[in-house]
């Protein structure tokens, strides 16, 4: 009886000081490097001989003889106690054991730190041992590979009596024969053993499938993957570190289902990332990027090497906590934290890029002959003499050849990381430079990151993350004059009989035939447009644990982006009579952001009920200021002499905007017995973008999941071991519009001269305010299924979603005006399926084969427009000079609908022609007045995308391949139309002379040469479906090549190695940004090729070294 009471009291006392919880907590975190650390300490043997000295002296001696640092609390350890020691080449663990024998001091090794802590248990155990005559049981705890597990917990079931295994996995504990030992370690299934008569009990632990679950970042917290109720795709660093990735967006492509990534071909160009289709017609469907809890990250400027994991939140139950900013999906980026022994990684690769495909056009001599023929047929003299044609035959001008080059790129990244229980650090640097495949185009990026976190006390954590980047982009063709087509389109339609320079070296900037624009090669060679952006982000992350169940986290983030454009674009010659196409543009923009998030979290388990409650109060603000200087028609030869001393030709501008959001959020997560999961959340946002009456938005969500894993049919099943169903509903918003969208605006656009000399600038209305403006709301229903087979070796997920986006925000032009207004105009529905299947198909000692397949299907439809409207004309205008829209937002169609005439082939001899038409001309569907009927003639939005990523390793060899594909969409090939000539600035036909063209003898459906041409017709709609080998890599890792190098991998890879498509242009995946990019309505208008920068084919050689 007495003993029992004693034990009870002991246990109460013990709870207070019990190390177990603390150990569990940090072992959980450090389990990754535990083995590394113990290896070192295990092997460290030292000799010490000291007489009658304090413990403190002994510890200092150990410090001086080893790399260890010993930490202790002087109130807990009696370091003044005198001892004598005499060890010869003894293991450190044994020395410390002996030193603290019969004291309540235990130690723990964290990498190169030894922490001494008071463990009352240790003391009491001795007492308990004396109290009850017990047997001592010892043994070794090992993992599935029979390797010792240090730090495993061994507890006598039903008591608080327990020990922790030492560095070699050994333990020793006093028990009685009826006791049951419970042996546990993070990531392993807990094992229970009845002691009986045994004195040696060796225990082998098996990995726990469920516990091995990844931790998933879900926004304002984390969750175990198995606990998720929503649709979240995770991309961990591991899945893309096999590929030479310079852009974070590339890491997402094909690896996260439901995410589509459309690359831009220009070095440093923006990639378009879309999550579960496109809801919004405002042009901004960019997902919200949250880096380490701070809003407003830019994937382009991030160093992929810094990334630990990327989580893509897809369904409303996951997104609703981001409220008015979540409707385009959220990408959560977590950057790396160091841990363990200092680790240095160096990665360098060189990339050679080239044009993957040439578009065939007529040769110089053929063009000259064809031109002569058409002139003579029209009664005019020939333009080219026979000798000129002969000269062109021998020395053709191939503008496509002149435009494209082989681009070399370099990428170097270096990172250093490490950490222990107290301090963790990760520092990295990255330098990337890329030459584009179009001459003079370049991109360069430097970045530096420092992530440091410190555990100040058991309760208080502080982290500081800093990231700085500088990017410089030279001559992005999108920033050149594209009024009638990009430089790429110009090169393909340029007069092939005209050299770039005449015999005196003067640039021939204009041609009288073929393309009426400026010589694209002369323009690129003589221009220099440099956009550079410096970005600095810093955030402090402070965590305080009031109790183990109640935590507070404060995230304070500040960011600054300074962007500078120095642009000198020279299209004409200074000697031209009205040299007005040499422009100098100097502009600066500065964006500052701040964010403060306060997060309170409380979680508790009651028996089988687990509850987790989160509350957030958060506010953010952003301010943008810009100024610029512009002068046109300057005669100077370079940028820095831009003052042309003529104020009337110089423009100065200043502007800016400001916005803010205040938010409150509550989330409750509950699960019963790890089987039934419920999540509910609500976020309240107040946004400055809307007037007071429409400012506050409520974004609720609810989700439910049920895991069958505890049911007998799964527990007993050797094949199927995870089955979970999920369903959720929620609402999110989109407020991605200009900060001043609700206000009236004027712009200083009206210029006139009353006296013939002095320019007066008047104000004209440019935007009509809309006080009724409110965010668009997306309601999303999601149902999903997760299935795991063969101990988690094969996992599959299937999600169905139905998203309805109402109150679509649109920057529209008021009918009958050129005044903009932001309006809530209608409704878009996205329905679809996300599917992923991943598996470790083969797992041998020497050979492994992993593969992941993701697939997304999306059906997009505009279901409503505001009353009285059936359609809204799109903002991608034709390049033939007519400014007619190429796309349309129309009820019943997808957002990617193309507008144009329907092409019916050719007019044949003998038919009754309408006025102005002859046999061999193109025929279109017309109305009763003979006018072309404009209708929806195609859709640029893929309905199905998939990706397949597979990795084989054989011994030290690695082979990785990544294939991605998109089907079910069209491309509006304006480039092909322009090459055919006969419209706008494209006066001559540069397509190949071929037998398929209409002639009186052979009346085909392809119009005659030099027929009038209409670019806005279904003649230029092509199927865009493609399958692309995005990446193929072979690598070899050297193990013990050089001392001091842990591993060295060399690899070779190719990107975009082959493309299977029927598309006749460069690449079906690139779509041009609209020329009038101020409307930037880039999604309603996807798939339009106005001469977009093609995706290069590239080859990479690299080396990656771990020290």
């Amino acid at each position: 009886m007495k003993n029992l009471i004693d034990l009870k009291r002991l246990s109460l006392y013990a709870l207070k000081f019990d190390l177990k919880m603390k150990l569990t907590a940090y072992l959980f975190i450090i389990s990754l490097f535990q083995i590394q650390a113990s290896t070192y300490s295990q092997n460290t043997k030292i000799s010490i001989q000291m007489e009658d000295v304090t413990i403190e002296r002994v510890l200092r001696e150990i410090e001086s003889k080893t790399e260890f640092k010993i930490l202790y609390n002087d109130n807990q350890v009696d370091y003044k106690k005198k001892v004598s020691v005499n060890f010869k080449k003894e293991r450190l663990s044994i020395i410390l054991d002996k030193l603290f024998l019969k004291t309540p001091v235990v130690y723990e090794v964290l990498d190169k730190q030894i922490v001494l802590v008071l463990d009352s248990n240790k003391n009491k155990q001795t007492i308990a041992k004396k109290a009850i005559e017990q047997q001592t049981v010892s043994g070794i705890v090992t993992d599935e590979a029979s390797l010792p597990i240090p730090g495993a917990n061994i507890i006598v079931k039903g008591t608080t009596n327990g020990v922790v295994t030492d560095f070699d996995g050994n333990y020793s504990i006093s028990v009685s024969s009826e006791d049951v030992l419970s042996v546990s370690y993070i990531g392993y299934a807990t094992k229970k053993v009845t002691v009986g008569n045994q004195t040696t009990i060796n225990i082998q632990l098996q990995p726990d499938v469920e516990q091995l679950d990844d931790i998933v970042v879900i926004g304002y917290g984390t969750s175990k993957k198995s606990d998720l109720t929503g649709a979240v795709s995770q991309v961990s660093a591991k899945s893309f570190e096999d590929q030479p990735v310079t852009r974070v967006e590339e890491a997402l492509q094909g690896r996260a289902s439901g995410v589509t990534v459309a690359k831009g071909g220009a070095p440093g160009a923006g990639y378009k990332v879309r999550i579960r289709g496109v809801n919004s017609v405002t042009g901004n469907n960019d997902p919200l990027v949250v880096v380490d809890g701070v809003f407003g990250g830019d994937l382009r400027t991030l160093n992929p090497n810094d990334i630990q994991s990327i989580e893509v939140l897809k369904d409303a139950s996951a997104l609703a906590i981001y409220g008015s900013r979540g409707s385009n999906g959220v990408i959560l980026v977590s950057t790396k934290k160091g841990s363990g022994k200092a680790k240095v990684t160096l990665d360098h690769f060189v990339t050679v890029s080239e044009l993957a495909k040439e578009i065939p056009t007529i040769s110089s001599a053929e063009f000259a002959r064809a031109k002569n023929a058409s002139l003579i047929a029209g009664g005019s003299p020939a333009r080219y003499s026979n000798s000129q044609i002969a000269a062109l035959q021998n020395n053709p001008y191939d503008y496509q050849d002149m435009l494209f080059q082989t681009g070399i790129g370099n990428n170097t990244q270096l990172s250093v990381s490490g950490g222990d229980d107290k301090i963790r650090y990760f520092a990295s640097g990255n330098y990337t430079n890329q030459q584009g495949t179009v001459i003079t185009t370049k991109y360069e990026r430097f970045s530096l990151r420092s992530n440091v976190s410190a555990k100040i006390t058991d309760k208080l954590n502080i982290g500081l993350n800093m990231y700085g980047s500088r990017e410089t982009q030279i001559n992005n063709p999108d920033n050149f004059n594209r009024f009638k087509g990009s430089v790429i389109l110009k090169a393909l339609t340029w007069d092939p009989t005209l050299p770039v320079q005449d015999e005196n070296g003067a640039y021939l900037t204009r041609a009288n035939i073929a393309n009426n624009g400026f010589n694209p090669i002369a323009t690129l060679i003589r221009s220099n447009r440099e956009r550079s952006a410096d970005r600095f982000d810093a955030n402090i992350d402070l965590g305080y644990k009031f109790t183990d169940n109640f935590k507070y986290q404060l995230i304070v983030g500040v960011g600054t982006i300074n962007q500078n454009v120095e642009s000198f674009i020279r299209e004409d010659n200074a000697s031209d009579a009205n040299a007005n196409h040499t422009t100098i543009d100097f502009s600066n923009g500065r964006t500052t952001n701040h964010q403060v998030s306060n997060i309170l979290n409380w979680n508790k388990s009651f028996d089988k009920h687990n509850l987790d409650v989160t509350g957030v109060y958060e506010f953010q603000g952003s301010r943008f200021l810009n100024n610029g200087y512009l002068t046109a028609g300057t005669n100077t030869l370079n940028f820095y002499t831009s003052d042309n001393e003529d104020l009337s030709r110089e423009d100065f501008s200043n502007g800016g905007s400001q916005s803010a959001i205040t938010s409150y959020l509550g989330r409750v997560q509950y699960n019963f017995d790890n089987s039934l999961y419920l999540t509910g959340s609500i976020r309240v946002d107040e946004s400055s973008r809307f007037s007071k009456e429409n400012r506050t938005g409520y974004f609720p969500s609810a989700a439910l999941a049920y895991s069958f894993n505890k049911l007998k049919f799964i527990e007993d099943n050797n094949v199927l071991n995870n089955l979970k169903i999920r369903a959720g509903w929620g609402q999110v918003g989109n407020q991605n519009i200009n900060a001043s969208a609700r206000f009236d605006r004027t712009s200083p656009d009206g210029r006139t001269v009353f006296d013939g000399e002095n320019v007066l600038v008047g104000l004209v209305d440019s935007q009509e305010g809309n006080p009724d403006l409110t965010w668009e709301t997306t309601s999303q229903l999601n149902a999903g299924l997760d299935v795991g087979f063969l101990n988690g070796r094969i996992n599959t997920s299937l999600d169905y979603f139905h998203k309805t986006t109402e109150d679509l925000l649109l920057r529209t032009v008021l009918p009958g005006t050129t005044i903009n207004q932001f309006q809530n105009v209608g409704e878009v529905v996205n329905k679809g399926i996300d599917f992923s299947l991943s598996g470790s198909i083969i797992e041998n000692d020497n050979f492994t084969w992993d593969a992941t397949f993701t697939l997304s299907h999306i059906d997009n439809e505009v279901t409503k427009l505001t009353e009285g409207r059936d359609q809204i004309l799109g903002s991608v205008n034709s390049i033939d000079g007519t400014d007619n829209p190429l796309n349309v937002i129309r009820k019943g169609e997808s957002l990617g609908a193309f507008l144009g005439a329907t092409y019916l082939g050719t007019w044949k001899t003998g038919e009754t022609f309408p006025a102005g038409v002859q046999a061999g001309d193109a025929k279109y569907v017309v109305d009763e007045d003979g006018n072309n009927v404009l209708g929806v003639i195609g859709n640029g939005m893929p309905t199905l995308t998939w990706g397949f990523n597979t990795t084989f390793t054989y011994k030290n060899w690695l082979l990785n391949a990544f294939v991605n594909a998109a089907t079910g969409f069209d491309v509006y090939n304006q480039l092909a139309g322009a090459i055919n000539g006969g419209t706008g600035d494209y006066r001559d036909d540069l397509s190949l002379i071929n037998a398929g063209q209409w002639t009186p003898q052979n009346q085909t459906e392809s119009p005659r040469r030099n027929a009038p041409n209409n670019l806005l017709s279904s003649r230029y709609i092509e199927d865009g479906s493609f399958i692309r080998l995005s990446n193929l890599k072979i690598g070899y890792t050297f193990d013990d090549l050089v001392k001091g190098i842990n591993s060295l991998q060399v690899y070779a890879s190719g990107q975009n190695l082959f493309l299977i498509t029927d598309y006749s242009g460069y690449d079906p995946e690139v779509s041009s940004t609209p020329v009038n990019s101020d409307l930037n309505n880039t999604d309603a208008g996807v798939g339009i090729d106005l001469g977009a920068y093609p995706n290069p084919r590239s080859f990479t050689l690299g080396v990656k070294i771990d020290f």
């Binding site: 009426n516 402070l542 009579a577 603000g621 400001q658 001269v753 009353f754 006296d755 013939g756 320019v759």
Partner: protein, 504 residues
């Protein structure tokens, strides 16, 4: 070690936490949900001062300059028998007019439509916003004058569009009704008349402090345009013959007060097209440009736009061959065409060249396309000829009417216009037809001829004559109908797409 233990023990941490929490509340003021919008260029609901109104009116002029600086502004005039364009090249939009085969997708038509309704919308916005100025105690005369200008510009914009399309919408509210329909031509003309009458009422006799030639309109400018309006009202399609008397009356008012309005004829017609004379009394409303101030404010219609490829010209505006050959020889023909050029032997397209477009040889910089040449939107010569023609058609011919006609004839012959000359003067015959014929030659290449042919329903006659072979054939043959069914241009397809109520 000691340090953090202390913090922990002394519970200083709680203090830090408290500070943090309170600083969060301080920070909260940074999340300003009502930023000051006026910090960035936002307009007031109503004007608070005359200078705001002034600024806004300069904005309308800016829109007019932006529209009128391009040949696009006059593209429909390529339909006349006086102007043609290159047979190939990127001139398809002009060719469609020239060949009477205008597509609903014609880009020039669309640009013009947008440009004209920009002017209308801004004018409407000003009229609404300026209401707040009344009673503010600001200079009422100046406000009145400025408002008069707005009416003038709106009337001009409506008129410019109505001549091309016939039926147009008439938005008069600050923002147009998105579902607005087309108004009947009679209502359109009534609105234009009303705008010009408002302008006439409010504008001064001479706009203070401006260059000669009414760079900003005066009473006389409004009257002159009214007389032009009445000529069209009396002709096709409304054919309200009573308006000839109105036209004659308005023209007469201008003639009688020409001294008050500073209007008159220049002595030598050739001088009119010289850069140095870009501001002159003959223009009753001038659009002014600056050739050296860049793209935005330069005139982009002249010089190399009228030259053939042989001179590195852009061959946009050529003269028709038949018209050139029929043109009576004399000083006016010399002032109208570059007779020094051997157009029949050009290697590129063979058409005569307008001096009115290229300027007299050597007057404009070689190869220039941006010039400071003014547009004489309406010349005093037209007021005189309207008076002569309208007098005839309204049956109230006076000696002043004959004198008006004869002044133009004398100058055309290279004689002093004010001195009667028996060799040039006419005193008998059908003065209306004589004046109509005189207009043909006097305003050749000034984008007026097509609209004269329309109002008199003489398109068929004139364009059939155009295609009578001269020394050489015209390049751009007529494709479309020459009947009244094809007089007006269609409403652009994109406009109808945006608002089906504007369907043709």
């Amino acid at each position: 070690m000691k340090k953090y233990r202390k913090i922990f023990k002394n519970k200083n941490f709680m203090v830090i936490l408290a500070i943090t929490m309170s600083s969060i509340l301080l920070f909260n003021s940074c999340a300003d949900l009502d930023p000051d919008p006026v910090e960035f260029d936002l307009p007031p609901g109503t004007y608070g001062s005359v200078s705001e109104l002034d600024n806004a009116i300069i904005g309308v002029y800016g829109q007019l300059t932006n529209a009128a600086k391009w040949t696009t502004f006059h593209a429909p005039s390529w339909a006349g028998d006086d102007i043609t364009t290159h047979a190939e090249s990127n001139k398809a939009d002009f060719r469609e007019f020239d060949q009477r085969n205008v597509a609903v997708t014609n880009g020039r038509l669309l640009s013009n439509w947008d440009a004209i309704f920009n002017i209308v919308n801004t004018a409407n916005s000003i009229l609404v916003r300026s209401e707040g100025l009344i009673g503010l105690g600001v200079d009422p005369e100046k406000v009145n004058r400025l408002i008069g200008e707005v009416y003038f510009l709106r009337g001009l914009a409506f008129f410019h569009a109505a001549r091309v399309h016939g039926k147009i919408p008439l938005p008069l509210t600050r923002l147009p009704d998105p579902n607005i329909g087309l108004s009947e031509v009679v209502d359109v003309f009534a609105q234009i008349e009303s705008d010009f009458l408002e302008a006439e009422l409010r504008l001064p006799d001479v706009y203070p402090g401006i260059m000669p030639g009414a760079v900003r309109p005066n009473k006389g400018s409004a009257k002159s345009l009214l007389s032009r309006l009445y000529m069209h009202w009396a002709g096709f399609p409304l054919k309200d013959a009573s308006k000839y008397a109105s036209a004659a009356n308005k023209a007469k008012e201008v003639i009688d007060n020409s001294g008050t309005y500073n209007f008159g004829l220049v002595e030598d017609l050739e001088d009119l097209w010289k850069l140095e004379n870009r501001f002159n009394d003959e223009s009753v409303f001038t659009m002014s440009y600056c050739g050296d101030c860049g793209f935005d404010t330069a005139n982009l219609k002249n010089s190399i736009l009228g030259l053939p490829g042989d001179f590195d010209g852009w061959q946009e505006t050529f003269a028709e061959i038949r018209f050139f050959e029929d043109f009576p020889a004399g000083a006016r023909k010399e002032a109208t065409y570059r007779t020094d050029l051997d157009w029949q032997n050009f290697t590129d397209q063979k058409n005569p060249v307008f001096k009115k477009v290229t300027g007299p040889a050597g007057d404009l910089p070689a190869g220039a396309f941006m010039t400071g040449r003014s547009d004489f939107y309406m010349r005093y010569a037209e007021v005189l000829l309207i008076y002569a023609e309208a007098s005839g058609r309204s049956g109230s011919v006076t000696p002043e009417a004959w004198d008006a006609l004869n002044m133009i004839r004398r100058r055309a012959a290279g004689l002093p216009y004010a001195t009667p000359d028996a060799g040039a003067d006419l005193t008998t015959g059908d003065i209306a037809e004589l004046a109509f014929e005189e207009r043909k030659w006097e305003f050749a290449g000034e984008y007026l001829r097509w609209f004269d042919l329309v109002r008199m329903e003489r398109v068929d006659q004139a364009l059939t004559r155009r295609d009578d072979s001269g020394v050489l054939n015209e390049s751009n043959t007529i494709i479309g109908s020459l009947g009244t069914d094809n007089y007006f241009s269609p409403i652009p397809a994109a406009v109808i797409e945006a608002n089906p109520n504007l369907g043709n």
